[in-house]
Each structure stands twice: as structure tokens, then as C-alpha cells.
Amino acid sequence: MDPIREAMLHPSRSARLERRGKLISFLCIALIVLVVVAIFAFVAWHGLATFFENKINLWDFLSKSVWSPAVKDAHGNPEVGALPMIVGSFGVTFLSAIVATPIAVGAAIFMTEISPRWGSKVLQPVIELLVGIPSVVYGFIGLSVVVPVIRHVFGGTGFGILAGTFVLFVMILPTVTSMAVDALKAVPRHYREASLALGGTRWQTIYRVVLRAGMPGILTGVVFGMARAFGEALAVQMVIGNASLLPQNLVSPASTLTSVLTSGIGNTVMGSLENNALWSLALLLLLMSLAFNLVIRWIGKKGEMK
């Protein structure tokens, strides 16, 4: 057989390399997918046991406000109402996002539009530093500064949703700010030029064009921040009071899904109702993270379509 024909019939060295590379990258992604699916399956298995094995009504779980899985109520059913934690988690998440967003957007405008040099030299490193501080440090500061201040001003113990909001707001601020900065930087220069050339002032250009064009990116940043706040456990646990009660106001002790999980998971026996109920909370957290992810993707898609 002639050598060219011979060569054509067998995969070349580079073709083999190509196939090997494909295989390796496929294995990597397969491993990641496997891990994610396994975590989901595990959490769902234990989390759903509360409803299937222990026969807890799903609606009762979501809507009742007494959480003491070890105690049975008048009808002999265990008290596993997760509403206080759900309210606590969403409360701190939304409140911290509401406080953080305007400040983050303001900072991002300053860093991109008003003083880019200062922004990249001084503010960017500061924000990156804030991201790197471990959450226990935030919690500790919250415990020794924020809680006493709230106690002094509003009375009570000082623990509660307000303290959690303060700590979380500082924690998510850098995330939201840096994503808002990226969003504003990604707004094409020619939008700004067009607006200025039409007789727009700098401020008009910022709020009519730059903010509007950067809105999907800013919203994505806010949702990222909310996802982080929703999932944060340690710092919140240190300042929220950890009372599984429906919060009466912003300064009464409360709890979140994460704080109940971290404080309770070591004290229960695997397979018991107390343990299963905690897994149900974990499942709820996981589903919420998934929801946040979907929202982020949805915003991203809407942003592209314009």
C-alpha cells in the first residue's frame, strides 16, 4: 500500500492527542457533575425522609412556627415548623441586600465614572481585602461591636435580625460592589460619548445611560450578594440570637436556616427525626441556592437579548 493511503487509514499522532485531551476534560466535568448530583441526592434523601418516613406534613413544615423536633404537640405530632428560620433567612437576606445595593452602586459609580484612577489604585484593593476577611472575623466584630450598640440604642439583648443585617451587609458589600463595577466598566464607551455629545451632563449620562445599560450586571451582583447572605452561617449565627422563634421585630432574637443547622447538626443522631428535620432545612437551603442561580442566569439572558 502506498504510504499516503496508509497514513490516511490510521489516526495520526495529533488526532490521538486530541481524543485523549477530550477524554480527560470529559472525565473532569463528569466528576464535577457526579459530585453535585451526589450531594443533591444525599441531601434530598435525608431531607425528604422527614416527610415520607416521619410523616410530617410539608405544609405544616413550611408554615408552622414552633420548632422543637424532640417535643410532641397535643396530637402526638413532632413540632417541626420551619417558618421562623425561613422568615429569619429571608429577612436578613433581603434587608442586607436593600442596605448594600445603593451603597455598592454609589461606590461603583465613583470608581468607574467619577474617579477611575483612585478607584483602581485605592478602592479596588480595599474591596478585595474585604472579600478575603474570614466570616468568623465579621461575626466576632458583630458580636463585640454591633450587638452592644443595638442593645444600647434599642434595648433588649441586641441579638436579632438587625444585627444579622448589619454584619451581612458589610459581608456582601464587596461582592455586590465589585460586580457592579464590572457591570459599569462593561458599558461601552461609545454610549457615554453619544450621551455627552447630545448635550448630556455627566450625571445625566450616568443615570440615563450607564446605569440603565449596566442594570442586568448590577442586578446579577445583587442576587449574588443575596445568595451569599442566604448561605452565610457562622457570622450570622454569632449575632442573630439563635432562638427558633418567629421574630417579633428586628431586635428580637431570631434564627436562620443556616444558624439552626450549624448549631443543631452535631447534637442529633443520624436517622432520627431531629436529624431528618435538619436535613429538610438543608434541602430548603439548597433549593433556594438553586433558585438564586436560576435568577442570575435569567437576568443574564435578558441582558443579552437587548
Binding site: 461609545h190 450621551s195 455629545a197 448630556g200 451632563t201 440615563r208
Partner: protein, 253 residues
């Protein structure tokens, strides 16, 4: 017959830091004429154009010297309101740059900046501006769709409509057709010929044919200098300078 000068510029120099990009330009623009600025890339024609509405203010290192007047008013005077200047001297860029809003919102943008809220005034402005920009018939049924859904040539005409809505006196155009196909380009050229009756147009172009087709006057720039400015016919048929002739006949550039 001496036409009224709308813009006069005398000894305009521009520095980027230590680098002098314009070496003293003297050029006047007559009312209701199209002036084409031609020259090879990097010759300073766009830079000069951006001096006329002070867009170079946006570049921190740029410094403008000399005297530029709009109807006798020094536009670099400390008392000059830049916002007001840019309303009188509109600008169209090389790349069509509509905002990511609807066509309608794009056109009324300048009016909204000025605080116009009356719906009837805005509607009226959209129709007249887009008609002047020769795009009304193509978009009148989809004014509330995104301007980004249009083709490049349509976008550029909407952008021109957006400038016209502000009712400027002078329109600066920085290679407005160089990103467009020949049909879109010729639509825009025809539109410019019609607009000339109401506006003073200053057009930077790389396209020699475009300059010869539509401009009344042509100015040839080379390496930051103004080599020659004269009626277009004269520049193309009988240039005074050797450099101009070499450039126009394609011997360099």
C-alpha cells in the same frame, strides 16, 4: 458671495501630554455647506473635529490651544457651557452607536435631557427627525422596538435622527459611513445633501469619492497640519499643493 462663517478656528493646537497632534490649524466653516476633512489615518482630522464640540475634554491628557469660535463666541472660554455647546454642535460617530433602548427613546434622548416631557412634542420630534434622517418609513411601525435590532445602516440613520432632534446648528460627522455597506452609505450621502439646506455639516471621511460627491469644500490634513482647504472642485481638479495632488491621485496614503 461671502457666506456667513458659523465656525472659525485660528491656530488650533492640540497636545496629548508632550505630543503635539495638531500644529496650528486655521479653518473656517460657512453656513449650510458640507465641508469634508480628508487625509490619511492619524493625520489629525478626527482630533480636530473633536475640538469643535470639545469632545477632547474627555481625554485627561489632551490640551487645546488656539481660538475656536461658534458664531463669534469663543467655545473654550471659561464661561462657555459645554452642554449648551454640544447641543448646538451635534456629533455622529464612525460606529453606529444607538443606546440599547427603543428607537423612540433613542431619538427623544436629547430632548429628555433638556427636560421635555410633553408627549406631543416628543412624538412630533421623532417623526420630523426620522423623516429628515430618511428612515421614518422604515421604522415608523416599530418605534418601540430596540434600536439594536436594526441593521447598521438603519442604526446610523436613527443616530443621525437622534442628533437632529436636538436641532443643532452644526453636525460633526466622524467617518459616518465607513462601517456601512455601499447602499447604506449612498442613502446617508443623499440624506446629507438634503440636510445641507438647514445645517452646517463637517464630515471626516476616508472615502475620496464621497468627499467629491457631496462636499462643497474640502480640507486636506497631513501629519497634524492643514495642507490645503478650498472648494471641493478645485481640490480635486486643480490642487494648489503637491502633497494634496499626490494624496488625491493615490500616490500615497
Amino acid at each position: 458671495m461671502a457666506k456667513t462663517k458659523v465656525i472659525t478656528s485660528e491656530n488650533v493646537k492640540l497636545h496629548y501630554g508632550d505630543f503635539e497632534a495638531l500644529h496650528g490649524i486655521n479653518l473656517d466653516f460657512a453656513e449650510h455647506e458640507i465641508t469634508a476633512l480628508i487625509g490619511p489615518s492619524g493625520c489629525g482630522k478626527s482630533t480636530y473635529l473633536r475640538c469643535l464640540n470639545r469632545m477632547n475634554d474627555l481625554i485627561p491628557t489632551a490640551r487645546v490651544e488656539g481660538d475656536i469660535r461658534l458664531r463669534g463666541q469663543d467655545i473654550y472660554a471659561p464661561s462657555q457651557d459645554v452642554v449648551q455647546l454640544r447641543k448646538s454642535v451635534g456629533m455622529v460617530f464612525q460606529q453606529p452607536n444607538p443606546f440599547p433602548f427603543s428607537i423612540y427613546e433613542n431619538v427623544v434622548y436629547g430632548l429628555r435631557l433638556a427636560g421635555v416631557k410633553d408627549r406631543a412634542v416628543l412624538d412630533e420630534a421623532v417623526e420630523t427627525s426620522l423623516q429628515q434622517a430618511a428612515i421614518w418609513d422604515e421604522v415608523k411601525d416599530k418605534l418601540h422596538e430596540s434600536a439594536l435590532s436594526l441593521s447598521g445602516g438603519q442604526q446610523q440613520r436613527v443616530v443621525i435622527g437622534r442628533v437632529l432632534a436636538v436641532k443643532p446648528e452644526v453636525i460633526l460627522m466622524d467617518e459616518p459611513t465607513s462601517a456601512l455597506d455601499p447602499i447604506s452609505s449612498s442613502q446617508i450621502e443623499n440624506m446629507l445633501l438634503a440636510l445641507r439646506h438647514d445645517y452646517t455639516i463637517i464630515l471626516v471621511t476616508h472615502n475620496m469619492h464621497q468627499a467629491s460627491r457631496i462636499s462643497d469644500k474640502t480640507a486636506f490634513f497631513l501629519q497634524g497640519r492643514l495642507v490645503e482647504a478650498a472648494p471641493t472642485k478645485q481640490i480635486f481638479l486643480n490642487p494648489a499643493e503637491k502633497e494634496t495632488e499626490d494624496y488625491i491621485t493615490g500616490r500615497f496614503g
